[in-house]
């Protein structure tokens, strides 16, 4: 469903992605690991359409469409979702209201009827149950004054409501203690389905103890230098990134 071929991207004058290839099939969970500065977050941002990155080569197709041509919102309408490493605070914007507007924007773009308040509340309750979350976050402004763990949980909750076809989790494990990590991982696992693909961008193997990936890729110096099954992550944990000659990448 996602096909990345020879992707090159710059931030300013600096080339960060240097010809990256990645194929992701429906329902697969891929972990992308790598040392700091290897281009992991850049990949997540380029895929979701953030400004400030210049694509200088290669292609990205998602469900047969050229993704790089699309505005961020159009990518969301197609079913792409980015869980942010640092979720952004929106003071005064009620979390429930925000999510309802987002879901309805997506439904509208797809030609589906918008959900009314009652149906939306029902959907929210259902998803809260699936994720074992309480509703305390919903009445507050989006991410405003949330703890690190609450922010990440909120991202997963948004993902549950928006039901993306491809979710990119950008270092969702960073800054979480072990309990928070477990809650977030349980959430992601609950949302796994044959219809939903996931890219886990992470620095540490730790997250993969809780979310079992189908594939693991090692990103270094802007390229994928090694791909394998979940055992690759364990090997990395043992031997470090230096084992693959990726240590000087930063």
């Amino acid at each position: 469903m996602l096909s990345v071929k020879g992707l090159k991207a710059n931030v300013g004058d600096k080339e960060i992605l240097k010809g990256l290839d990645l194929e992701i099939g429906r329902g697969e969970v891929h972990a992308i690991m790598g040392p700091n500065g290897s281009g992991k977050s850049t990949l997540a941002h380029v895929l979701s359409g953030r400004e400030g990155y210049t694509v200088t080569g290669g292609s990205v197709t998602f469900e047969g469409q050229d993704l790089l041509d699309l505005e961020p919102e159009a990518r969301a309408h197609l079913g792409l979702f980015l869980a942010f490493q640092y979720p952004v605070e929106l003071p005064g914007v009620n979390n429930t209201y925000f999510l309802k507007a987002a879901l309805n924007a997506i439904r509208k773009a797809r030609g589906e009827p918008e959900l009314d308040a009652v149906s939306f509340l029902r959907l929210m309750k259902e998803k809260l149950k699936v994720l074992h979350l309480d509703d305390s976050l919903l009445k507050r402004p989006v991410n405003f004054g949330f703890s690190g763990g609450e922010k990440k949980r909120n991202e997963i909750f948004q993902m549950a409501i928006l039901e993306p076809k491809l979710a990119i989790l950008d270092e969702t494990d960073s800054g979480l203690d072990i309990d928070a990590l477990r809650i977030v991982a349980d959430g992601v696992n609950a949302l796994r389905s044959p219809e939903r693909s996931v890219i886990l961008v992470t620095h540490y193997q730790r997250l993969l103890d809780y979310i079992q990936p189908d594939y693991v890729h090692v990103l270094a110096k802007g390229q994928i230098i090694r791909s394998g099954g979940k055992e690759l992550a364990l090997e990395l944990e043992d031997k470090g990134y230096g084992w693959l000659g990726a240590e000087e990448a930063a």
Binding site: E73, A76, G92, A102
Partner: protein, 480 residues
């Protein structure tokens, strides 16, 4: 189409009074002197005391110079080039909606304003705005039962001269400032509200329901008196942009709250801001002041200002009664070439008086916005408290936000808090919203509405919904 009897009555009464000829003969030539002031008063058949009041104000106005301290720029106004008694609906007005600025019509449609009302708002002569007429009639009956007076100030001058004589100019004296003096000399019409002792006004009072209030002209005068223990909520203006031929507006609003009385005054102002170059917009120079005369009284101003080329207004509270409370909640938007210098004054005179100021300024395009606020704690105001929160939001890089807080404290027991922030809608915020499927415009509108929430929460329900919608429309295209 068969019209209801109420509508027919209005249509007929207009003809009966020779509506059209009256307008033509009653438009004065431009210029202002004592003769004009006398003529205005005579034309309205005003009692002697009011003529004297107008003349006193006029003589004082002649001694004043235009204030220049505000952070706004505009060409000099020639006060001799203005006609001081004219019906705004001249025969030169548009004949049909096709003659109205298409951009304006689009806004009407987005706000969901019915066609008859669009015509009335844009100055096309219509027989009657059907809904409002019937609503106005039922409302009047209900108010009369409660003993509440709600009428045009020109009617009140005749029907309740004692009340007018007692209260007019008692909060904003004719000597107060240049525009207040001018208004006192030549005020055209306006609204009078009187709520008797202990009465809770049974409904929100709105000029929206009073057709004649739409044509009060450029020097509007409003007086609201709430007797001891009474309660009233007044809504001024409407969200639809109003066509107006008068460029200069200098209104005066006076509120009086006696012991335990409460007045809530909400404004949505959306006058024509001028074209893209800033030409032809309204200058809105308003003096609004509330007098918390009684103990434990409360006056609350809420305003949403999106229109006008220039806004110059500072709704204020005189906290004279012990334990009285003043509030000011404001959202002001400047875009294009709009300029706004607005804020409030909280004058603490009584003991344990409290005031709250929440000002939210939004600038986009080349809009310039200034918050100017004064909090004064007098020597006798033991235990006074003020909390001021003043936030500015910038959209784009050519607009400006300025803050001028003045604080004067003469009593050491005062507690003062002042918070100010200036922020931009960040790229991070926009990207976050867009990555969730929202368009840039919807994202901006959501972030801005979040920014204004504290103020919108103060508005009556339907008004708040309209204000949100208005804000979104105002900021359309603000982010490129």
């Amino acid at each position: 189409m068969s019209a209801s009897p109420a509508v027919e009555a209005i249509v007929e009464s207009e003809y009966e009074h020779g509506f059209i000829t009256e307008i033509e003969s009653d438009t004065f030539l431009p210029g202002l002197d004592e003769g004009v002031v006398r003529a205005i008063s005579a034309r309205k058949g005003e009692p002697e005391f009011l003529l004297e009041y107008r003349l006193k104000a006029f003589r004082h106005w002649q001694t004043l110079a235009t204030p220049r301290w505000a952070h706004v720029h505009y060409p000099e106004i020639d006060y001799q080039a203005i006609s001081y008694f004219s019906a705004p609906k001249s025969k030169d007005g548009p004949k049909s909606l096709d003659e109205i600025d298409p951009a304006l019509r689009e806004t009407y449609n987005k706000l969901g304003i019915p066609i008859e009302e669009q015509m009335a708002l844009s100055g096309i002569a219509v027989d009657a705005v059907f809904d409002s007429v019937s609503v106005a009639t039922t409302f009047r009956t209900k108010l009369a039962e409660a003993g509440v007076i709600f009428c045009a100030i020109s009617e009140a001058v005749h029907d309740y001269p004692d009340l007018i004589k007692q209260h007019l100019g008692s909060v904003v004296p004719h000597t107060d400032n240049f525009y207040a003096a001018l208004n006192a000399a030549v005020f055209s019409d306006g609204t009078f509200v009187y709520v008797p002792k202990g009465v809770r006004c049974p409904m929100e009072l709105s000029t929206y329901f009073r057709i004649n209030a739409r044509n009060t002209g450029q020097f509007e005068r409003t007086l609201i008196v709430a007797e001891a223990g009474s309660h009233v909520s007044y809504l001024e203006g409407c969200t639809a942009p109003m066509r107006d031929e008068n460029q200069l507006h200098a209104a005066v609003v006076e509120l009086i709250a006696m012991d335990d009385a409460e007045i809530k005054y909400s404004t949505v102002q959306n006058w024509y801001p001028g074209d893209a170059q800033g030409r032809g917009g309204i200058y809105n120079f308003v003096t609004k002041r509330g007098d918390c005369r009684g103990a434990r009284s409360k006056i609350s101003w809420t305003q949403v200002e999106t229109g006008s080329a220039i806004t110059w207004k500072y709704p204020s509270c005189l906290l004279r009664g012990d334990d009285s409370v003043g509030e000011f909640y404001s959202v002001a938007v400047t875009k294009g070439r709009q300029q706004a210098d607005t804020g409030t004054k909280m004058i603490h005179l009584g003991r344990n008086t409290r005031s709250t100021i929440v000002s939210k300024g939004i600038s986009a395009g080349e809009g310039q916005q200034t918050y100017r606020g004064l909090v004064r704690i007098a020597a006798k105001a033991q235990g006074a408290r003020n909390h001021t929160q003043c936030d500015s939001l910038l959209i784009g890089d050519r607009c400006g936000a300025h803050t001028f807080p003045y604080i004067e404290v003469k009593n050491p027991s005062a507690q003062m808090e002042h918070e100010a922030t200036t922020s931009k809608i960040s790229d991070d915020q926009l990207f976050y919203c867009r990555s969730r499927g929202l368009t840039t415009e919807d994202s901006v509108s959501m972030i801005v509405n979040g920014f204004c929430k504290q103020v919108f929460n103060q508005l009556p329900m339907e008004f708040a919904v309209e204000a949100q919608k208005l804000l979104s429309i105002s900021l359309e295209g603000a982010v490129g």
